[in-house]
């Protein structure tokens, strides 16, 4: 589904990604861990097409098409989703209106009929029920005045609504208390399918114990320096990152 080959990227002339290679297949869950400043968020931003980031080398193929030539909206319509680490507030735009526009853009792109008002509400209520989403959050403006936990929950709700093929979750667990983490993790668990791939960026093993990744990658200084199974995450939790960096010649 996603093939990243020798990806180099910079921001304001500073190179952050220095040759990423990664392949994610349908139904797989990959986790990326790494110390602060290693390039985890940059990788997310490059994949969704944030204009401030410049790709200087490499290729990214998503669902057999060249991702890097597509504008951000096309990437989203093709089925790429990023759960933002710090989602912005958009005062005056109700969550429901925002999602209706987004969902219909994706349907239109895939040559499917757009959802009219009643159909959309029915679809949305189904997802609300699935994720135990408080209805009052949906009636408010996008992320406006949301607590940290509510913002993350809202991101996962958006993911549920858009039904992406590849979901990138950028530190979805940051700033959450134990209960909120469990709620968000449960919600992610419900959205795992045999065809949907996930790329989970995190610092902590707790989230990974819920979402159970197939592969764990360690990113350092813009490169993936080690790949392993879920046990790698626990090793990092115990020993930190230094031992991996030291092992690497």
């Amino acid at each position: 589904m996603l093939k990243i080959k020798d990806l180099h990227a910079s921001i304001n002339g500073t190179e952050i990604l220095r040759g990423i290679n990664l392949q994610i297949n349908a139904g797989e869950v990959h986790a990326i861990m790494g110390p602060n400043g290693s390039g985890k968020s940059t990788l997310c931003n490059v994949l969704v097409g944030r204009p401030e980031y410049a790709v200087t080398m490499g290729t990214v193929v998503f669902k057999d098409s060249d991702l890097l030539t597509q504008p951000p909206e096309e990437r989203a319509r093709r089925g790429l989703f990023l759960s933002f680490q710090s989602p912005v507030e958009i005062p005056g735009v109700p969550v429901a209106n925002f999602l209706k526009a987004a969902v219909n853009e994706r349907l239109k792109f895939n040559n499917r009929a757009e959802l009219a008002g009643g159909q959309f509400l029915k679809y949305m209520h189904g997802k609300e029920k699935l994720l135990n989403m408080p209805p009052e959050l949906i009636n408010r403006s996008v992320n406006e005045g949301f607590s940290g936990g509510e913002k993350k929950k809202s991101e996962i709700f958006q993911m549920a609504m858009l039904e992406p093929d590849l979901a990138i979750l950028d530190e979805i667990d940051s700033g959450l208390d134990v209960d909120a983490l469990r709620n968000v993790s449960d919600a992610i668990g419900k959205l795992k399918t045999d065809t949907r791939a996930m790329l989970v960026i995190t610092h902590h093993c707790q989230l990974l114990s819920y979402v159970r990744p197939n592969f764990v990658h360690v990113l350092s200084k813009g490169r993936i320096i080690r790949t392993g199974g879920p046990e790698l995450a626990w090793d990092i939790e115990d020993k930190g990152y230094d031992w991996i960096q030291e092992e690497k010649p």
């Binding site: 204009p51 504008p71 951000p72 909206e73 912005v88 507030e89 005056g92 526009a101 853009e105 792109f109």
Partner: protein
């Protein structure tokens, strides 16, 4: 011929039209107002230089065929549950008042003839006291207008919708809203000027809100290629409430000025304004809120969306007088620039002569938030749609403050059409 001579010639030529059937009360004020206009107006100011005696005072288009096709949907249509009054060139041509018996909406001339004792206390009362060159010009050339008169304790349930069409090249209409004690009314005015380029619409609305009255007025302006000057002057008695909202979609040069006099204790006012200057249009909001009664509250919010090379101006002033203890006053002006060539000039101002007050003022000018734009795009919404979404959200915040459901929905509908017609 100097500009003054042109105005004088226009005044002399129009005397027959203006004076002929007008009440003595109106005529008695004209000449002196004209002289004061000459004393106070700066003829270097472009707005006084555009007068064209050839088109002035005479109808230019007697129908609405010149309205661009996409605007035709804005034509008047009757609305259920609303008292609809159609005013053409300052005169009431129809009034759906079959259910209304306890208050009247009449033409200004007719009102002055029928209620001389009431009219002499109100007509030009505020314009004389707080005169500007534009209101002096209006008094000198005033032809007609409408009056909404609410006798004591009349509470209106249906909103009043005034569809106000102007087709003449030089229009000076004077409207009055007289709300006596314990009354309430919701008014929405659709103000359309379909006149030749550079035509002048110079309207005055005097509002008298007696104690415990409640007046809400929303005015939706489309001046197209005309110059549109609206002066609202309002005097409030104790515990009265007013809410004035002015939304301007088009006009060559537009000035919406508000002069609010909070004289009574615990009176309240809310001033809202929105505009969409584009393609060389200049739209200004000027507000003066004078707190002279104790415990009064004022809340101002003006939001503008500027595009192309549109120009916006906000000049707001709150003055809290020495007797106005416990005043609460807020003033805010936010502006969204959709292009690099649009310009906004904003000057929020506070003058406080009392220690016991809570006041705030502020202004912002900015482009659509790039993070919010990207967030929308990352969800599949194209950039131009995202810009439209953010522009709509920006103006929706203002609509939330409109309490009248009819006015709010009608305003939202017109704003939606403007946003749909704009290429982001």
């Amino acid at each position: 011929m100097s500009l003054e001579e042109k105005y004088r010639e226009l005044f002399a030529r129009g005397k027959k039209v203006l004076h002929g059937s007008a009440p003595a009360l109106m005529n008695s004020l004209r000449q002196s107002a004209l002289e004061r206009f000459f004393e106070s107006a700066d003829f270097n100011d472009e707005k006084y230089r555009q007068i064209s005696p050839l088109t002035a005072l005479y109808p230019a288009n007697d129908d609405l065929e010149n309205i661009p096709p996409w605007r035709k949907t804005l034509r008047f249509r009757p609305i259920e549950g609303v008292r609809t009054v159609v005013v053409k060139n300052g005169q009431i041509v129809s009034d759906d008042c079959s259910f209304v018996r306890n208050y009247k909406i009449t033409g200004l001339r007719q009102f002055i003839e029928q209620h001389r004792d009431i009219a002499k206390d109100y007509f030009a009362n505020l314009t004389n006291k707080y005169e500007t060159p534009l209101t002096a010009l209006n008094t000198a050339f005033c032809n007609d207008g409408f009056v909404i008169y609410l006798p004591k304790t009349v509470q209106t349930f249906r909103p009043v919708y005034i569809y106000n069409i102007t087709t003449v090249g030089f229009a000076n209409y004077h409207n009055m809203i007289i709300a006596e004690k314990d009354t309430s009314v919701n008014i929405c005015i659709r103000n359309i000027v379909n006149a030749p380029n550079n035509a002048i619409f110079n309207g005055v609305t005097e509002i008298f809100a007696d104690s415990k009255s409640n007046v809400a007025l929303t005015q939706l302006n489309d001046g197209y290629y005309a110059n549109l000057y609206n002066s609202f002057l309002c005097r409030q008695a104790a515990s009265s409430k007013t809410a004035l909202c002015s939304v301007t979609f088009s006009g060559r040069q537009v000035i919406n000025s508000f002069n609010m006099r909070l004289e009574g204790k615990y009176s309240e006012t809310r001033l809202l304004g929105a505009s969409f200057p584009s393609q060389g249009q200049q739209i200004s909001h000027l507000s003066t809120v004078e707190h002279s009664g104790a415990g009064a509250t004022s809340d101002q919010l003006f939001r503008n969306i500027l595009s192309d090379n549109g120009i916006g101006v906000f000049n707001g002033r709150i003055h809290v007088g020495p007797r106005a203890a416990e005043t609460v006053a807020t003033q805010r002006n936010d502006n969204l620039l959709l292009s690099d060539d649009a310009k906004m000039f904003t000057k929020p101002d506070l003058v406080i002569d009392n220690d016991d007050v809570k006041c705030s003022h502020g202004a912002t000018v900015g482009q659509p938030d790039s993070d919010a734009l990207f967030y929308c795009r990352a969800r599949g919404i194209a950039e131009h749609d995202a810009r439209r979404l953010l522009a709509k959200a920006f103006i929706t915040e203002l609509l939330k403050k409109l309490n009248c459901k009819f006015a709010s929905e009608h305003t939202a509908e017109l704003i939606e059409r403007w946003l749909d017609s704009y290429h982001y």
